[in-house]
Amino acid sequence: MSRPPLTALLWLPLLILPFYVDMFWLQAGLFVMAAAIGAIGLNLLTGSTGQLSMGHAFFLAVGAYGYVYFAGETSGHVTGLGLPAPVAAVLAVALSGLAGWAFSPIAGRVSGVYLAIASLALIFLGQHVLFNLESVTGGYNGRAVPPMKLFGFAFDDSSELIVAGVPFGGLERLWYLGIALLLAAMLFARGVLGARPGRAMNLVRDQRIAAAALGVPVGKVRAKAFTLSSMYAGLAGVLLALTFQRAVPDYFGMLLALDYLAMIVIGGLGSVGGAVAGAAFVTLLPQLLARYSGDLPLVAAPGADGISPAVAARYLYGAAVVAVVLFLPTGLSGLLSGRLPGLRRSATPMKEESPQ
């Protein structure tokens, strides 16, 4: 935020990446973008408003399946509305927001770790519905995701498109859509955080009573932050579904909710850039381990005996969470912006109670 030219430079390589890297990296990158959007949303709630949610994966599922249902056609045992893809995407995000808003009687009243437990129930509810509402979700085997189509331009492999000698398939096209969505999500979040609603969210987190005394309706602010964060999750779910090309219920379980918490802790609570960095770390780690498992000690190839890449990745970022909590309270974002914990501590010497 403070160094816009530098940040802009960081985006440039991303724009030319599809011309140089293979499918694996494009898909990994798109997962990072989707996760980053979701993590920004969770960070608005947890990092900035101080409300812990374990239900983020539920809202991702609402977004993903909402899109599939709105855009999909009725065929065989699944039904769909067959709406144009962009409309379906917007509706899916709105549906996630609606689900988050419906949860606001709880999200507005309950705080901190109590909200975490209450929102955990959403995961179980979500899993139950996803597995059993087969006509919408396709049940255990999931459901194919209709491709995005914007103004007649399809984001899939159906039509041939060659740009500068590089064939542009579905992933290459989605790449730019992902970048645009992530950029928009970041700018919007920074706009919110830097202005009146963001300040109110911060004060609700730090000094609830003072916030109320200044005219901030604490419950409403919490409920709105929850709704906003679930809309981010919904958008992340849509992008995720488009990248996966298949929505499967297993994916949206508790581990995913924990992944998102790990992202914002590792990245830095309350920071938009931190959420993106944390999302990249947590999302890329298992994929890199899987790809290079043959060359790494202790990590077995997928399917072989031993520690699988996915498990190894969980150990590693579990360790990363512990390390961040102990040594780097501001997360990766603090590391990048030079606000090292040591410096920061000496700059904030007092937090003692005032003597009577």
Partner: protein
């Protein structure tokens, strides 16, 4: 600080306010009236019920019985953010700033009730949100200047020296353009110089803005110098009410503060 036109400051009338926590009576039928534009001090030994009284006035605690009226509006039963909308602002005994936010952002929080920009307008950076922000930022800078913290605006509030943080608290309350300002021990924990500066600031607020001030304070010298009227509490009961001179002579007050001679 340039004076903003303010609607007439009404009287604050506290009547028979009782607060019970389970079996403990924290306030027992306490009443007093804060006249418009005066400094009204509420004093008493530790545990007398001063902070409870403040918390009732600002809606943090709910009175078990009794009434608090501000210009015809009944305050008991209103949530804190509604009370703030009536033009009542307060500071906290223990600092209640957002330590991570800059001083400027903390002061802008004082403008919360006077501004409108919501999530959509702020997220999309709509012109009207930006204009509102700029307009109120200008006023915040004026108030920071008045409170002597203008040079600290960009620093995180948590990094400021204690005395300056207390000033930010006061400035934040002023940013809400209150008609009634409640100060909960504004000089607690300060050294002599800081106390003097804070007292000067409070005098300046009163002279410059003409708002009513309710002051809870332990520093008797400061109370006697600043207050127009003093209410003395002891064990949740009002034991005296009058001008500083009157309460200083009051035998009940002397007993409460100095203890009773056993004869």
């Amino acid at each position: 600080m340039s004076e903003t036109p303010k609607s007439e400051t009404p009287e604050l009338v506290v009547e028979d306010v009782t607060v019970r926590f389970a079996g403990l009576v924290a306030l027992d039928a306490v009443g007093f009236t804060v006249r418009p534009g005066t400094v009204h001090a509420v004093i008493g030994p530790n545990g007398a019920g001063k902070s409870t009284c403040f918390n009732v006035l600002s809606g943090v605690y709910r009175a078990t019985s009794g009434s608090v009226r501000f210009g015809g509006r009944e305050l008991t039963g209103l949530p804190p953010h509604r009370i703030s909308e009536l033009g009542i602002a307060r500071t906290f005994q223990n600092l209640a700033l957002s330590a991570a936010l800059s001083v400027e952002d903390n002061l802008m929080l004082g403008r919360y009730r006077l501004t409108r920009a919501g999530i959509v307008a702020s997220g999309l950076r709509l012109p009207r949100a930006r204009r509102e922000e700029a307009r109120h930022l200008a006023r915040v800078r004026e108030i920071a200047d008045f409170a002597g913290i203008a040079h600290r605006l960009k620093e995180p509030a948590g990094g400021l020296p204690y005395g300056d943080q207390k000033r930010v608290e006061l400035a934040r309350a002023l940013c809400a353009e209150p008609r009634l300002l409640m100060l909960d021990e504004p000089v607690a924990g300060m050294n002599a110089t800081e106390r003097l500066e804070m007292a000067e600031l409070i005098v300046a607020v009163r002279a410059g803005l003409g708002i009513s001030i309710v002051l809870v304070e332990h520093d008797m010298g400061m109370v006697m110098r600043l207050a127009d009227r003093v209410t003395v509490l002891d064990f949740g009961k009002r034991i005296a009410d009058g001008t500083p001179g009157e309460v200083q002579e009051d035998p009940a007050v002397l007993r409460a503060y100095l203890g009773e001679e056993v004869s």
